[in-house]
C-alpha cells in the first residue's frame, strides 16, 4: 500500500534533512503508529504520503503510484484515496455536521443522491446519528473529531492518515476516538497515526515506527511507545 525506498527529504534552504534514508513498507489494512519528538520528521512523513511535496531522493509508492513521477494533475485522484484527520479538526465554521461531511463529497463531484445516501451511513459509523443538524461550534471536541473522521472516511479511502487526532482531547474521549479508528481499520483501511500519546500506543499494541532526527530508529510490530 505504501512503500518508502531510501527516501530522503530536504526542505529548501536547510542543510539537515527532515527525513533521511527511510526504508519501509506498510501493507494494506495495517494500523501503524508514528512516534517521535516534535521535529523528528513525523509531519514530513505524512505530508510525503499526501504528496504535498516530492521526496528529494528515493522512491515512494502510495496506493500503487510512484509519487516522484506522478503527474501534478493526478494528485487530486491520489488524495481521494487518502483520508486525513488533524489535531485541530479543521471543520468549516458555520456549517452543520451533515454539511461538513457532505462538503468532501460535493467538491469531488458526487451527486446529491449519492451524498444523501452515503453521509448518513458514515455519520452512523462514527456515532453522530441525530446530530446532523448541529453546527460544529455546538459540539464537544470529541464530537468535532468524529465529524472530521467522518469527513475523512466518507469517500471510503484506502488510507487514513491521522496527525495527532487525540492531541486536543481528554483521555476518555481519546479512547472513543481510538475505538472508532480501530473500527475503520477493520474495514481494510490502512491507518497511519502520528501521536505523542503513550497510553494509547501501549494499549493498542500495533506496529510502531519511531523517528528521531529524521531517521527511522525503530520499526516494531505490536510495539509500545517507548522501547
Amino acid at each position: 500500500m505504501i512503500m518508502f525506498e531510501d527516501v530522503t527529504k530536504f526542505y529548501p534552504g536547510q542543510s539537515r534533512p527532515a527525513l533521511r534514508n527511510i526504508n519501509l513498507e506498510i501493507e494494506r489494512g495495517e494500523f501503524v503508529f508514528l512516534v517521535g519528538q516534535s521535529g523528528s520528521g513525523k509531519s514530513t512523513f505524512l505530508r510525503l504520503i499526501l504528496r504535498e511535496f516530492r521526496p528529494t531522493k528515493g522512491t515512494l509508492y502510495v496506493a500503487g503510484k510512484n509519487l516522484g513521477t506522478l503527474n501534478q494533475w493526478k494528485v487530486p485522484a491520489l488524495r481521494r484515496q487518502i483520508g486525513t484527520v488533524f489535531q485541530d479538526f479543521r471543520l468549516l465554521p458555520g456549517k452543520t455536521v451533515y454539511e461538513n461531511v457532505a462538503f468532501a463529497l460535493q467538491v469531488i463531484g458526487k451527486s446529491t443522491k449519492e451524498i444523501r445516501q452515503i453521509v448518513p451511513e458514515t455519520l452512523e459509523t462514527v456515532g453522530l446519528t441525530g446530530k446532523e443538524g448541529r453546527l460544529n461550534e455546538e459540539l464537544s471536541g470529541g464530537e468535532q473529531q468524529r465529524v472530521a473522521i467522518a469527513r475523512a472516511f466518507v469517500n471510503r479511502p484506502q488510507i487514513l492518515i491521522a496527525d495527532e487526532p487525540t492531541g486536543n482531547l481528554d483521555p476518555e474521549t481519546s479512547v472513543g476516538i481510538m475505538k472508532l479508528l480501530d473500527r475503520i481499520n477493520r474495514t481494510e483501511t490502512t491507518v497511519i497515526m502520528a501521536t505523542h500519546d503513550s497510553t494509547i500506543v501501549d494499549q493498542m499494541r500495533r506496529r510502531v515506527l519511531e523517528l528521531r532526527d529524521g531517521e527511522l530508529v525503530r520499526d516494531q510490530s505490536k510495539g509500545v511507545y517507548g522501547a
Binding site: L50, P76, R79, R90, P93, V107, I108, R151, N155
Partner: protein, 300 residues
C-alpha cells in the same frame, strides 16, 4: 455545479464594493483603450486617403512672378524646364512627374470655379506652369522639396504634406496618449482584480485547504474565483462597449459624418473590431490576474 455557482455568487456579494470598483476601472480603461484604437483607425484612414492624393507642386516662373529662383521679368526657359523635369525624375523618392501647363491649369481653374464670380478674375497668362510630383512614400517629402527649391526656374514648391503634418502629429499624439493612459488604467484594473481575488481566496482558505485535502480538482477550486472575475470583466467589457458604440453613434455617425464630409470616417466595422479587441483584453485581464493570484492557494 450548484456549489460553484453559489460560491461565485457569495464571493461577488461579499466583495461587492471591490467588484464595483473593478467594473468601473475596467469599463473606463477599456473605453479609453477602444477610443485609442478608433482614433488610430481614423488617423490611418485619413492618412491613406490623403496620401493617395498628396503630391508636390513645383511652380515655375512666369514674367510676373518674383521670389524663388526666378529671374525678374523672365519666365522659366525651356532648358530650365527640362532640367527641372530631369532632376525630379532622377530623384529616387519620386514616383511620377506630370507637367501641367498654364493653359491646363487655367482650364482646371475654370472648371473648379465655374459657378463662382472669381472665374473671370484671371487669364491664362496669370497661371503658372507646374510639375506635379507623386512620391514613392508621401511621408518622405522633404528631400524632394528641398531639391526642387534649389533648381533654377522654380518659383515656389508647395507640398500638402507640410500642411497636414501638424494635424497628423496632433492626432498621433492623441492616439498614443489615449492608448498610454488606457494601458496604465488597464494595469490598475488587473492589479485590482488580482487583489480582489487574493482577498476572496484568503477568506476561503479553510475551504480551499479542505478541498485540496479531499482531492477536489484544481479547476473545481479555481472556478468560483474565475467566474467571479469573469463576471466583473464581462460587465466591464459590456459597459465599455456600450460607451464606445454610443460615442461613435453620437459623435461620428450622427454628427461628424454629416458635418465634415471631406474626411473619410470610420464605420461600424471599425467599431466592431475595436470592441472585439476590447473584449479580448478585458477577458485576458480578468483571467490572467486571477490565475496568478490563486496560484499560491492551488499549489499542491
Amino acid at each position: 455545479m450548484r456549489h460553484t455557482l453559489r460560491e461565485t455568487w457569495s464571493g461577488l456579494r461579499r466583495n461587492l464594493a471591490m467588484t464595483v470598483a473593478v467594473i468601473v476601472t475596467m469599463g473606463v480603461s477599456l473605453s479609453l483603450f477602444g477610443l485609442g484604437l478608433l482614433t488610430s483607425m481614423e488617423v490611418d484612414l485619413v492618412k491613406g486617403r490623403w496620401y493617395d492624393k498628396i503630391e508636390i507642386s513645383v511652380f515655375l516662373c512666369i514674367e510676373t512672378t518674383t521670389g524663388g529662383l526666378c529671374e525678374e521679368g523672365k519666365g522659366t526657359t525651356d532648358a530650365q524646364r527640362e532640367n527641372i523635369r530631369a532632376a525630379l525624375e532622377a530623384n529616387p523618392e519620386v514616383q511620377e512627374v506630370f507637367y501641367e501647363s498654364k493653359e491646363a491649369a487655367f482650364e482646371e481653374f475654370r472648371r473648379v470655379f465655374k459657378e463662382s464670380p472669381i472665374v473671370g478674375s484671371r487669364t491664362a497668362d496669370q497661371m503658372q506652369d507646374s510639375f506635379r510630383v507623386k512620391l514613392v512614400n508621401p511621408e518622405n517629402y522633404q528631400g524632394v522639396v528641398s531639391e526642387a527649391n534649389g533648381l533654377q526656374g522654380v518659383q515656389n514648391v508647395q507640398d500638402l504634406q507640410s500642411i497636414f503634418e501638424p494635424l497628423f502629429k496632433w492626432l498621433n499624439g492623441l492616439q498614443w496618449a489615449t492608448i498610454g493612459m488606457s494601458v496604465l488604467l488597464l494595469l490598475a484594473a488587473g492589479l485590482q482584480i488580482a487583489n480582489t481575488i487574493r482577498m476572496a481566496a484568503f477568506t476561503r482558505r479553510r475551504e480551499i485547504g479542505i478541498m485540496r485535502l479531499v482531492g477536489a480538482s484544481n479547476l473545481y477550486i479555481l472556478l468560483p474565483f474565475l467566474l467571479e472575475s469573469l463576471v466583473a470583466g464581462i460587465i466591464g467589457v459590456i459597459v465599455s462597449s456600450v460607451t464606445v458604440a454610443a460615442g461613435y453613434l453620437f459623435l461620428i455617425e450622427r454628427n461628424a459624418k454629416t458635418s465634415i464630409r471631406t474626411l473619410p470616417w470610420i464605420d461600424w466595422s471599425h467599431v466592431a473590431a475595436a470592441i472585439l479587441a476590447m473584449a479580448a483584453v478585458g477577458l485576458a485581464l480578468a483571467i490572467i490576474p486571477t490565475l496568478l493570484a490563486t496560484r499560491k492557494y492551488l499549489r499542491i
